[in-house]
Amino acid sequence: MKESPTSTSDVTIKELETRGIQVRKIEKEVYEVFIGPQHPGSGHMRIIVRLDGDIIAEADPDIGYVHRTMEKLSEVREWLKPIPLLERMTIIDACNITVPYVNALEKLMDKAPPPRASYLRVLLCEINRVASHLYGFGIFGVFLGHSTAYMWAFGDREVFVELAEILTGARLTHTYPIPGGVRRDMPQDFPEMARRAVKYMRRRLIEYQRIFLDNPVIVKRLEGVGVISKSLAAELGIVGPNIRGSGIKYDVRLIEPYEVYDELEFEIPVYEEGDALARTWVRVEEIKQSLNIIEQAVDWLERHKGELILSKDDYDKLPKLHKEIYEKTGRVKLLPVHASMKIPAGKAVARGEAGRGEIFYYVESDGGTVPYRVRVVTPSARNAIVFKYIVPGHKLMDLPAIYGSIDYFPPESDR
């Protein structure tokens, strides 16, 4: 393998160039492979992998193929408009991504959502989390050549996408939370559906375990691959299920409970091994916990029917017609003034636990109608460093296993 293009002599290079082929010399005695962006195992990114034999000597993630300039665009759009904009970066996890932004706005405005709105947000967040974990799980399955895991996970993800659609009206891009509340109330028959979905998913998880997680081929592929030790995980600053798979009990829902997470009962699954298998198990356990939270949230919402889903002063400002619509359909119709509202000057930081890990927002206002600066650091953006520091030393065939196990989602990383 070392003999191949790396040591092409100058004569052959000239000859190839006359034939119109781009040739360049590689300095080291390595075999350079570009994985992506058009590659079944890359997604929307490129990983420049330098191989020494079959061992990866160096991996350089070349990201930015989905950089859609959300930070800049947020600076020129009115305060509410970044919500739909930002949720496009993790379209499969829309609510989890936008809740911290809304929280930051609420911190700046000194406004708190009513409890029912908070519960609705948590409900959608957890539905999104299950859907997002199943998405990652499916992609992971197909990375290991297990197409059944992909299809099952994507099929079952539809259950939760459907739930979210019933709740918000959109399959993926919900734009659900707004400063001071949410946009729609829960439909009457939603609790029943949610409970059925939860029951169904619990049963399916056992089947997943049988076909995928306990499959000897899969276990063999994942065990001891991509091990991230506890101290290294902290040093690299990776987030989410990846860090909990390395034995660090860090979950924003636990550390700094936002919304109503402090009122809910759930556990944070932590595995000590730090390998790809542990990270996968963390996700599966998290799905179980999310299902618990969905049940609790639905129960609470059923007990507290008729409460406001918009903060009191916002509701009082609504004209009569809009109030009637709200009473009838449970839909909040916002006034144009919302679009051009001004937020007092200041800066706020908010963090939340999205499906793939901690999401961080820094929002600065100069008192105008648009944000002065919105800085968003997404979980995948922080996990990207894994490619550089964990992948080297593994075999080429381990790359999809590690990629899948850290559940890297390029659009989220690139913003």
């Binding site: 665009l73 020129v76 800066k347 706020a348 600066r373």
Partner: protein
Amino acid sequence: MVEALSLDNIINSIKLNLEGLVKSISISKGYIEVVVDASHIVEAALKLKSMGYDHVKSITAIDYPKESKIRVVYHASSYINEDLAKTIIGLTADIPRDNPVIDSLSQVWRSVEFQEREVYEFFGVIFREHPDLRPLLVIPELAEKKVLRKDFIVKEESIYEGIPHKY
């Protein structure tokens, strides 16, 4: 009021540890802002790290064209120490806009490496002694334009107000 007490404790210990480096320290919404001089940032970061702040969540650069400065904020926190994990320290330094150079913290916290590259490409902030300072997300041609600075104006259609803003 356990929360507030521990917050005070943390501020006190930061003051103690970073003595002589801190310009000002204040509680902001969601984080503790610690302003230091740009030339002392590595020292301050090392001390914060020895206190237990083991990773950086975000590097934010904010452009203030009126004051002709760029503010770089490292939001650091802790994973291992659960008490410190509850707080975020915003290690802040101001650097001149026309010559934005600052020492890289990638030797202190490895987690800043990619985000420093990002700040470099969007704001043109040069991090001294960064191991691999290349544009991360955008093509080199765009990185030269320093797109996230306020003088790079993106046109926006709006019915409410005449935008783009003039800064």
